[in-house]
Amino acid sequence: MTTVAVKPATMAQAFGRALRDAMAEDPTVHVMGEDVGALGGVFRVTDGLVKEFGEDRVTDTPLAEAGILGTAVGMAMYGLRPVVEMQFDAFAYPAFEQLISHVARWRNRTRGAMPLPITVRVPYGGGIGGVEHHSDSSEAYYIATPGLHVVTPATVADAYGLLRAAIASDDPVVVLEPKRLYWSKDAWNPDEPQAVEPIGRAVVRRRGRSATLITYGPSVPVCLEAAEAARAEGWDLEVVDLRSLVPFDDETVSASVRRTGRAVVVHESGSFGGPGGEIAARVTERCFHHLEAPVLRVAGFDIPYPPPMLERHHLPGVDRILDAVARLQWEARS
């Protein structure tokens, strides 16, 4: 809730506050990664933590992502709750063997005897003018891996709530942090008791009757903007912010689509093999008789992430979203 008395805070500050509060409450929470100490992380999310908690709990590691996550596994085996920072989306790939072959499977492998409460923070997505390997939408890799929870906030309050929930979870959680939104501000009071919602609930960001935009992370503000622009066309769009890709909130999504009868999935990740295909299938399976049109997708192109001077053509924008909405077979409306 916004109140006039509260100073705006950035999403980066909210992530940092979540780390700080979790560390203050639970001495087993450790933060580790590249440049998370004196520098405070390249996005300053861990700013001030090493001063408050010391180098034993806020550790600048050697520059090696598999080693960071692999040692985090051993620390979790011994009862710690590591929060690992991957510096950028594409720099997380060296850690994939540890993530996929071990972190995601450990609870299942040991029949529940040894869960691994590890949080992996990954700044992701484009729109920041980054050179190659700094703008990937890597969520499809994570959500295709059973055993991982995958969350991605779109608001300052959710950044806090979802990261706290991730750290509190006994299962490994990948927190995809939309780096384009790190400096987005919201009236958010860090000193008031904050909601730590259970992972796995989507939220309707904007109520509407004409069609549902299903989206998450960096595309949420774009969809909200598109919904405003759509009013001029006579469309009243609903926007569902998934917040959690795994577990997936079929209930909230299906309820929305049943109300509106039309749906577009919007994300930066590529279309082929991206989350949109799974979401469209799930919506179709559950809402077939309510649908007035096929579920459409507005996604990044199926190309390697473009160089910064061309990325605006790649990222789903308001116009491309409205074009998709226009193709939802309005002429067939009864």
Partner: protein, 384 residues
């Protein structure tokens, strides 16, 4: 006076940021693999330790042959035998304290068993009724897994966490020669040295990574030499000399326990059997090489020491063999029983709480199984 100093104009200095870091000389391994058995040093070893090592070697060899036999009877999906490497397996298990942790590679089932793990539970992965058949905390043995070298950073992290907590715990991580080419080997050794983690790395250089010989794996002077680049000591030991392996590992563990940081130990040994029961080693090595190593058998080496010095008699050796046979008989009997499987376990442990998607899939499988059961009860389909 050098030519430069005579000129008086220019004195070369090191780059500003450069300073010598670690003297590499003390980190270097010995030229030859360390030996104890058959040397004067053997007299310094506690005879009880030698007898315990012997009993475990005999038992370990029997375990290997029994497990291989179980693959032929279809009771194990696969077994990577450590026959010929029992000295490393057994010494690694016996050198650790109860509170310490063992991180085995997939060939180290025997080390886990020698540490106290139930022989049937240790084989769960290879039998195929589940992945890991034991709670790792019970005997402080990390899950036996087939990815290479990935267990090494786990060992470093655990040892690091123990040290942060102030616990007197050392981790021993095991790996083969092929695994040292993996990136995780490098990253683990680097993290361990930077953090001065109480961890010991034991490389069993058994000559082959499946079929690929060491010469195609590395150009290093020895695998132990790799330690120097990380700033930790490297030790070279005869991996078929159980007393030597025990001694070198014991020193490395004591060093780690005292806060001295990690050590890399290369044990030179030989894989006497094929990679697994599914492998054909005739395609890549000569029988003569295998025979040369048979003369250097770890059990024979220790037996010669014990009998030569009168530390064991025929009755003592017979007792070891009987104990091994009893273990093998028990293993055979229990492995010949079909494991109890519950397909619902497939969904039970993916997450702390199954997702709604998993609950749906679980319900689907349950319905399929119910239909199967009805089909068995009612083969004619009369009630359908």
């Amino acid at each position: 006076m050098t030519v430069m100093e005579q000129r008086g104009a220019y004195r070369p200095t090191p780059p500003p940021a450069w300073q010598p870091r670690t003297d590499p000389a003390p980190l270097l391994p010995d030229a030859l693999p360390h030996r104890v058995l058959g040397t004067e040093a053997a007299a310094q070893v506690d005879p009880d330790l030698l007898r315990r090592l012997y009993a475990q070697l005999v038992r370990g060899r029997r375990y290997n042959t029994q497990a291989t036999a179980l693959t032929k009877q279809g009771r194990l999906a696969v077994y990577p035998s450590s026959t010929g490497q029992e000295a490393c397996e057994v010494a690694a298990a016996l050198v650790l304290e109860e509170r310490d942790w063992l991180f085995p590679s997939y060939r180290d089932t025997l080390a886990a068993v020698a540490r106290g793990l139930d022989p049937v539970q240790a084989l769960t992965l290879l039998r195929g009724d589940w992945h890991t058949g034991y709670d790792p905390r019970e005997h402080r043995v990390a899950p036996l897994c087939t990815p290479l070298a990935t267990q090494l950073p786990h060992a470093v992290g655990l040892a690091h966490a123990a040290r942060l907590k102030g616990d007197d715990v050392v981790a021993l991580a095991m790996i083969g020669d092929g695994g040292t080419s993996e990136g995780d080997f490098h990253e683990a050794l680097n993290f361990a040295a930077v953090w001065q983690a109480p961890v010991v790395f034991l490389v069993q250089n058994n000559g082959f990574a499946i079929s690929v010989p060491l010469a195609k794996q590395t150009a290093a002077p020895s695998l132990a030499h790799k330690a120097v680049g990380y700033g930790m000591p490297g030790r070279l030991v005869d991996g078929n000399d159980a007393a030597a392996v025990h001694e070198v590992l014991g020193e490395a563990i004591a060093h780690a326990r005292a806060g001295g940081g990690p050590t890399l130990v290369e044990a030179v040994t030989y894989r006497m059997e094929a990679h697994t029961n599914a492998d054909d080693d005739k395609r890549y090595r000569d029988d003569a090489d295998v025979e040369a190593w048979r003369a250097h058998d770890p059990i024979a080496l220790l037996e010669r020491e014990l009998t030569g010095r009168g530390l064991i008699d025929e009755a003592g050796m017979a007792a070891a063999r009987e104990d091994a046979e009893a273990m093998a008989a028990d293993l055979r009997e229990r492995m010949n029983q079909d494991p109890v499987l519950d397909p619902m376990d497939l969904f039970a442990h993916v997450y702390a709480r199954p997702t709604t998607q998993l609950l749906e899939q679980e319900a689907m499988l349950r319905a399929e199984l119910d239909a199967e059961t009805r089909g068995h009860d009612d083969p004619e389909g009369a009630t359908r």
